[in-house]
Amino acid sequence: MAEWFQDNGLLLGLAVLDGLSSAGLIFLVAVGLNLVFGVLRIVNVAHGSLYAIGAYAAASIGIFLTGLGLPNWASIPTLVLSAALVGAILGPLIERFLLRRIYAQEEVVQLLVTFALFMILEDVQKLVWGVQPIHHDTPMTMLGTIDIPFGQDFIPFTNYQLFVLPGFAVVTLLGLAWFLRRTLTGRVIVAVTTDREAATAMGIDAAKVFLLTFTFGAMLAALGGALSSPTAALVPGIGAQTIVLSFAVVATAGLGQIEGAALTSLMMGMGRSVAVYFEPEFEVVVPYIIMVLVLLVRPQGLFGVTETRRV
């Protein structure tokens, strides 16, 4: 074992650095899905579309503003503002005119409706942005690279990958934890998550909480997309790729668990990057192996609480 670490320790170090940025991005998308799932109890397949539209919108707005002479430093705040804009517009629209009508429906109906919405939004993306890859990498290129020593060699990493993505994830995690535990609105959301009936009976307006939570979840999905846009080329289908992994994080973390989502994202991000170095064939399945192993031991998820069934 010690010999293996001596041979591969440096590679493992690189894998950890790669895993951090990957985990950051996974967390940003999955935590929004987890929040929506925890409060609304709806498996929102269209969360992937919000991610994709956030990415497209951020790239388009970035390209447009760059054309107007926007200074490079403003490109990162532009990502955040684009995501907020997408969430603030689409979130209330979807919740008010679609989801509100199906809260009382069976889960399978809810799943089908959000899937249909996902398909519709996929076509909307093609209508608006076409099918050719779109990219806007100013936020990544302006920050440059940093050379990480690797034995006698060095490995260039982008500062965006190494610092910005994990940084946003940490800020989101801490901000969310503070918001949910230290503010009145956050506590109301937690109350509805924990026991919707009791919370409503005590006078909490569940409809408002649902609207607020869904809008916030939509913003987080769009933020994940916006932050991925400087590194990835945007093409039709990016939303579908993201949503599957996000579901795995939510299932593994446990219903509505923010810290659980962070830890699970870290495990999955690290797991995937370690696999790329040592067993690339397993890269795709590592997150799902982690999910299966966790659910075998804790069916309610890593941080989930066993729910009692009311009769």
Partner: protein
């Protein structure tokens, strides 16, 4: 009441079922009011980066052909079907196109999986099927089809030509890594490359084989590993958004300064990449139809196709547009040949299929011959990437042309078996500079 069937009736029914469609297809055919073509391509999902431009090219050519009086006096009408929902859906749609829509000729598909699933339908439906873009070598190496023809090259020449170019221009490389998409093309193209490389330059060490999930949007980890390994050559047959992402992330992290990239399918991504594509790496286009082709066979036709497409769509045509055009030109040449063979009469499906076998049709850049097994022989042009301000993106320089018949496996031989028989001196004789 139970219906019973005598042995004789069963035999008659069986023979009827087998022979009747073929007999009907050989009957004298009436000149149709329209030549209906059913076109399968990706209209959604990641591969729509190829499918949508190909549809635009098809629509433009149909308009042009009809404006000029149609094919043999018959106007053409195209119906498009999306490949994205999968092969089961596509098989059903193809049957519907022929049996309900009365389609005369089928043009299929981009995905190798689609082609493998749907080409056998050409037998069942007895309809001419032109494979316009898919690259798998297995179609005509594992089966014989009377009604199916591929109007372009395929995986073997498309991978072998860049390999030959590499061996000619950078013969001293000792290590190779591959990063391909994890699906049929990614795996098959690596198998073809490996077989050719082991035969033409034995002893090259493969330091990494990576097949990231199809549709990946981040290659940071793979790039870090490649930076650490420092292979002399990195092969990637990836395409679309994934290739754009890989190149951008690798450029930003200076991987292109450490290794020579070989990108056989780069052409379609170059307009998107603009100035980002680094200089001096090996790029291919799955054929010979580069926008800066220095000596096309018919320069006027080449310019008119490119300019008409640009005017209509405000973008340069990429290789799937050229492949679609090849299928349309083959269709025109095949139908006209069959009509001429009947002294102006309209051919049956069997007669039309007969006309396609051995057909040589002109393209703006060269000619393509559909040989006896149905496979088209398309020339390949490979070069080194260089930014061209006139285009606003990279195009190849120091180009070499490889004739289709030189870099394709001979009829009756499997590609991997044939590649293993190649000798190192093949590198010097295989291509010519243009």
């Amino acid at each position: 009441m139970t219906a019973t069937l005598s042995r004789r009736e069963a035999l008659v029914a069986g023979f009827g079922g087998v022979l009747l469609p073929a007999t009907l297809s050989a009957q004298p055919a009436q000149k149709p009011a329209e030549l209906k073509i059913g076109v399968t391509t990706f209209l959604s999902g990641p591969a729509s980066v190829f499918g949508v431009p190909s549809r635009k090219a098809c629509e433009m050519l149909v308009d042009q052909i009809n404006a000029a009086g149609g094919i043999a006096g018959v106007p053409v009408r195209a119906t498009f079907v999306d490949e994205a929902p999968g092969t089961d859906h596509l098989v059903g749609e193809m049957r519907r196109l022929v049996q309900s829509e009365g389609v005369n000729v089928l043009l299929q598909s981009i995905s190798s999986g689609s082609c493998l699933a749907c080409t056998p339908l050409s037998r069942e439906l007895n309809k001419v099927m032109l494979l316009w873009d898919c690259g798998t070598q297995r179609i005509f190496e594992e089966n014989r089809y009377e009604y199916a023809f591929r109007t372009q090259g395929y995986g073997t020449p498309e991978v072998l030509a860049p390999l030959l170019y590499l061996l000619k221009h950078k013969p001293d490389f000792r290590t190779v890594a591959v990063i391909n998409q994890d699906y049929a093309w990614g795996r098959d193209s690596w198998e073809l490359w490996k077989a050719g490389m082991d035969a033409l330059k034995p002893g090259v060490r493969v330091v990494a084989e990576m097949f990231p999930r199809f549709g990946s949007t981040d290659f940071s980890t793979e790039i870090t590993r490649l930076l650490a390994l420092r292979p002399d050559v990195i092969l990637s047959t990836s395409w679309g958004g994934e290739l754009v992402t890989l190149i951008r992330q690798a450029t930003e992290r200076r991987l292109f300064e450490r290794s020579t990239f070989v990108l056989p399918v780069a052409e379609a991504s170059l307009p998107t990449l603009g100035r980002t594509m680094p200089e001096g790496h090996i790029i291919g286009t799955r054929g010979d139809h580069w926008n800066n082709h220095p000596a096309p066979a018919n320069p006027e036709l080449f310019r008119s196709f490119v300019n008409a497409y640009r005017q209509r769509n405000n973008e340069y045509p990429i290789y799937p547009c050229h492949h679609m055009a090849q299928a349309m030109w083959a269709l025109k040449a095949g139908v006209e040949k069959a009509v001429a063979a009947k002294n102006g009469g309209w051919p049956s499906d069997a007669e039309l299929a007969h006309a396609f076998r051995g057909l040589t049709f002109p393209t703006p850049t060269s000619t393509i011959t559909l040989r006896e097994d149905g496979q088209g022989l398309e020339d390949q042009i490979v070069g080194l990437s260089t930014f061209n301000a006139d285009f606003g993106f990279s195009v190849p320089k120091d180009m070499m042309l490889y004739k289709g018949e030189t870099v394709s496996a001979p009829v009756g031989q499997k590609s991997t078996d044939w590649l293993k028989t190649l000798k190192p001196d093949f590198v010097a004789s295989a291509g010519r500079s243009i």
